[in-house]
């Protein structure tokens, strides 16, 4: 039997619908994502921690859920808001319906609301804090109070919460139709990946390219990473505000000084910017979708990218040692930077996502090139020392 559910925003807006997950309540920042596919990847993306995700595409759950499509060990989004859950999910890879999946993962969700009204509200007012209550007795007043008590994501260090407690090795490649997850390629580079809330497909794409991956907790000091003698360091995506992550900013500063090739994605990009002396800011309603055009400034080439961020690198006071490499064609915000003084670069969008276009996947190859050329330089340096 379906249970009612309410979504209440901090401004008092009320949306009444049906519960599609567990009964209970959940609070967070309400954001909207315009992607038509990938709801399971979105729900399990640690970057969505403390966020209630609205999906603007009306039919969500068509293909159910399966273990292989998880981007992390569990669901990280704080709640799900959709227009319509289908009568029946149908897909050959399906193991659970979306609703079963949400209940198994302990997620609160609401369906049957006017998601377009909600999206327009968020577009006009900016991201709102909100509360979903689901179950037999939904208390609207309590929900409003909870929504208003949520402190907001600004100043919130969430990377520390979602990161791995322990260092581990990762060696699975990307998924292929008919073959499943590929075996690790022959390893050529030792790479340490900082887990600020990493999505698995990033790790898989590094493994495909011959990286021997060690994933370390967000708070790992630079010295420990350097002790692993890496060829490159990867800075992962993750949730929340980059500014309070002083531990990471400090470590990245040391790593850039050491001249190690560094590649950052999303939160990792913002942390590299902060470590390089730039500033970051909270966006009005952020970028969440699968069709965002981004221009590579050097070539003029436009790429269709997946995006998920509520904070961005600010455009003023950009230090000289940072070169802006990419910009969003939606609002002109900075989408990529490269250090001019060391082999470090980063990208705001998600080159590992594949809702269709794979336009940005080549950034992984660039990281490999940086490691390869540094290796050659060191080798020739060593050989010249030897003679």
């Amino acid at each position: 039997m379906t249970q009612p559910a309410l979504l209440v925003l901090e401004d008092g807006s009320l949306f009444a619908g049906q519960s599609i997950g567990i009964s209970g309540h959940t609070v967070g920042e309400v954001v909207f994502n315009t992607a038509m596919t990938g709801y399971q990847e979105i729900l399990s993306d640690p970057s969505y921690a403390r966020q209630l995700v609205t999906l603007t595409y009306p039919h969500i759950g068509n293909t159910g859920a399966n273990a292989e499509d998880m981007e992390a060990a569990r669901v990280h989004a704080a709640g799900l808001i959709i227009r319509d859950l289908p009568e029946l999910a149908s897909n050959w890879r399906m193991e659970q319906s979306l609703s079963e999946f949400m209940r198994a993962q302990g997620v609160v969700g609401i369906a049957d609301i006017d998601t377009r009204r909600l999206t327009r509200l968020l577009r006009e007012k900016g991201s709102q804090n909100g509360c979903i209550v689901a179950g037999a007795d939904c208390d609207q007043a309590q929900a409003l109070q909870l929504a208003r008590e949520f402190p907001g994501l600004s100043g919130m260090d969430l990377a520390r919460e979602v990161t791995t407690p322990d260092t581990y090795k990762y060696s699975s490649g990307t998924w292929e139709l008919g073959a499943g997850f590929r075996a690790a390629a022959e390893t050529r580079f030792r790479v340490v990946a900082y887990d600020f809330g990493v999505k698995r497909n990033i790790l898989r794409m590094l493994v495909d390219r011959g990286c021997d991956l060690t994933v370390v907790p967000a708070t790992t000091p630079a010295a420990e990473v350097l002790a692993l003698n890496p060829d490159g360091v990867f800075l992962s995506n993750g949730p929340g505000d980059p500014e309070p992550c002083g531990y990471a900013i400090e470590a990245i500063g040391e790593l850039t000084s050491a001249g190690i090739p560094i590649f950052g994605i999303c939160l990792g990009h913002q942390l590299l910017a902060l470590a390089s002396g730039a500033r970051t800011m909270k966006m009005k309603f952020g970028h969440h979708g699968a069709n965002h055009p981004v221009q590579e400034l050097a070539s003029g080439r436009v790429m269709i990218t997946s995006q998920n961020h509520g904070f961005a690198m600010a455009d003023d006071d950009v230090p000289d040692r940072l070169k802006i490499t990419h910009r969003s064609l939606f609002d002109g915000t900075i989408q990529g930077v490269a250090r001019t003084d060391c082999p470090a670069f980063s990208f705001q969008g998600h080159p590992e996502a594949s809702p269709g276009p794979h336009d940005v996947a080549a950034l992984f190859d660039h990281f490999i090139q940086l490691m390869a050329s540094r290796g050659e330089a060191q080798a020739s340096g060593l050989s010249s020392q030897a003679t």
Binding site: F32, S90, D114, R116, R120, R123
Partner: protein, 638 residues
């Protein structure tokens, strides 16, 4: 889809239907849910319904009409209850990506949701109802008229609102009108839009039969229809009322009867005589229209027709053999009548007007007949109180003029007439509807160009294997072209070229005509023979040609021994075919000739009239010139 729904109604499970169809269960489950909801609706009491239940049904897409059927109520009663419960759709805007960015265009669709984005403005608004999906007989010509209405109204300072649901049309371009409602042309949907927009006037006569059918119920619901009153539209569509009017005006109609069952049909047919044109009332594009030659065919037709529609009777008209068919388009402001143009069909009466080639001005009608046509058109326009466009179809047999039908609405000939006379008829008529008289607009006299414009239909036969290419009362064409010339022959020749039929310069011509055409076949045969064609003919036609002194070689019909005519076509030995038929059997016999001609790209004519026109074109073929429309416009203006 209907069968799948029926399967669920009969109790099959989603799994069973999947086993039969291999349609993804996702879709089947949605259909099953709709069928279950049907069952739920059927047991309800309309007066006891609550808003939540009604909203749930509407969200699932059930129309008021469907709910009414299931509840055994009228659509009006369901709508009244729904409105009393305040369950109404909202309008959302079509934008680039799910409301991510604000959109400047007012391009709307309806849905049962919470927030309405229509934001109607305070303005003097004219709403144009489009034609809905294009299909044969309900073509792009109507969309042209709707677009021109919107342009004229915008030029005159009105806010224009278009209602249409075909994304391929120009009327649904976001910049054709100020506001666009991408909605089906049903009473329910149009009423909801009117409720939101409250237009000052609604134009229903430009989108063809689809919006025209809504005129009366819309008016009853208080919607301000502008132009010809629904009452007058009904007077023209209603057989008996129309007959009384014709009688009153002292005009002629082919003998006709109305029948609601087979017995009255047979009795009526005996009174007026065969052959008959039979059709259900209220159809467009000649759908389900047939010519029947005997009682047996009539009985067969009645069996099928009665099954098609219970409400509308079947109309029986005496079919006028060998009559010339004429279309007249006119604009009336309620008082003054502007003749847009007289179009003489090249094919004789019995071929659907949408399929017939036609010439403006007429190529064979006398000045007296043409004047009589003008007078009758004016009388009809005034008698029907037409405000806007009107189209009359006449059959001219000798010096007698019969009225076949009057359509107080835009006809599919309007774009052709407008281009041939360089007069924007649709715009002129739209301005009449908002109260600007013809003299005020400066249009008082008809334009009769001193050049000929010929419209020819374009057919999709090659894409539909199995469709007979013979022309008849049911419309088959999907496009049209126009040829302009100083003579009729030149204009016809160009129209043939444009439509993709080449008139061969010489070679072998095959001629086989029905008995009725035998006396007139000699002219065509003689000309082709003199032009150097080798002539092959079937026995009867060869005899007729020989009598007229034209040498023709006899060729076997199918079944008369090999090689027969079809073998010869297959051997690519034929360059031109003139083959006319009458009666079921000869139609059936000649079917393979037409199919083979089509596949072997042999130019063929299925009426003697078009063969005659082709002969005239052949005569002119050496003298084709290109004219600029702009220059012709100067001529017309001068």
């Amino acid at each position: 889809m209907w069968s799948i729904a029926d399967a669920f109604r009969a109790g099959m499970s989603t799994e069973e239907v999947f086993e039969c169809t291999h349609i993804d269960p996702w879709f089947l489950a949605q259909l099953h849910d709709l069928v279950n909801t049907e069952g739920e609706i059927a047991g309800q009491d309309l007066s006891q319904l609550d808003a939540d239940t009604m909203l749930r049904w509407k969200r699932k897409g059930f129309s008021d009409h469907r709910i009414a059927d299931l509840l055994d109520q009228t659509e009006d009663a369901v709508r009244a209850r729904r409105h009393a419960l305040e369950v109404r759709p909202v309008f959302k805007r079509v934008d680039s990506c799910a409301a991510e960015f604000a959109s400047a265009t007012a391009y709307m669709y309806s849905t049962y949701e919470e927030e309405c984005e229509a934001q109607p403005e305070q303005a003097n608004k004219i709403m144009v109802l489009g034609g809905g999906p294009n299909r044969i007989g309900q073509g792009i010509e109507f969309d042209y008229c709707c677009v021109h209405a919107a342009f004229a109204m915008r030029e005159d300072g009105y806010q224009t609102i278009m209602v249409n649901c075909n994304p391929e049309t120009v009327s649904t371009d976001y910049d054709t009108s100020d506001r666009l409602y991408f909605e089906p042309l049903t009473l329910e949907d149009v009423l909801e839009i009117c409720n939101t927009e409250t237009p000052a006037g609604v134009i229903v006569q430009y989108g063809g039969q689809t919006p025209l059918k809504l005129a009366k119920p819309l008016e009853q619901a208080g919607v301000p229809i502008i132009g010809t009153k629904p009452e007058s539209i009904d007077a023209a569509e209603d057989r008996e009322r129309f007959q009384a009017l014709i009688h009153e005006l002292g005009l002629l109609q082919p003998p006709n009867r109305t029948a609601t069952d087979t017995e009255t049909a047979i009795a009526g047919a005996e009174e007026i005589g065969y052959p008959l044109v039979v059709r259900p009332s209220y159809v467009l594009g000649g759908r389900a229209m047939e010519i029947v030659y005997d009682q047996e065919s009539l009985e067969e037709y009645m069996r099928a027709a009665i099954q098609v529609s219970h409400e509308s009777p079947v109309l029986l008209d005496r079919f006028l053999n060998d009559a010339a068919e004429v279309d007249v388009d006119a604009v009336c402001d309620g008082e003054n009548v502007l003749i847009g143009g007289i179009m003489e069909h090249i094919e004789e009466a019995g071929v659907h007007s949408g399929d017939s080639a036609c010439s403006l001005p007429p190529f064979s009608l006398t000045a007296e007949i043409q004047d009589a046509l003008r007078t009758q058109t004016r009388e009809l326009a005034r008698a029907l109180n037409v405000v806007g466009l009107m189209n009359v179809q006449y059959a001219v047999k000798g010096d007698k003029i019969y009225i076949l039908e009057v359509n107080p609405r835009a006809a599919r000939t309007v774009p052709f007439v407008s281009k041939a006379t360089l007069r924007p008829l649709a715009k002129i008529a739209a301005r009449c509807m908002v109260g600007k008289s013809l003299p005020e607009q400066g249009y008082t006299t008809e334009v009769v160009p001193d050049y000929y414009s010929v419209k020819e239909a374009v057919f999709p036969f090659i894409k539909f294997p199995g469709v007979d290419t013979v022309l008849g009362p049911e419309m088959k064409s999907t496009g049209e072209v126009m040829g302009v010339g100083r003579s009729f022959g030149e204009a016809f020749g160009k129209s043939q070229q444009a439509a993709g039929y080449t008139i061969p310069r010489g070679g072998t011509a095959f001629i086989s005509v029905r008995d009725e055409d035998q006396p007139a076949v000699a002219d065509v045969g003689r000309y082709l023979s003199e032009a150097g064609f080798r002539i092959l003919a079937t026995r009867g036609t060869a005899r007729e040609l020989a009598a007229a002194g034209v040498t023709a070689e006899k060729v076997n019909k199918v079944g008369e021994g090999r090689p027969d005519i079809v073998d010869i076509i297959k051997n690519d030995e034929i360059d031109l075919i003139v083959n006319t038929t009458s009666g079921k059997q000869s139609l059936k016999d000649s079917y393979t000739i037409r199919r083979e001609a089509l596949f072997h790209k042999v130019t063929y004519y299925t009426t003697l009239a078009s063969a005659r026109a082709a002969v005239q074109a052949h005569r002119q073929a050496g003298e084709l010139s290109v004219y600029k429309l702009q220059n012709l416009q100067h001529e017309v203006a001068a």
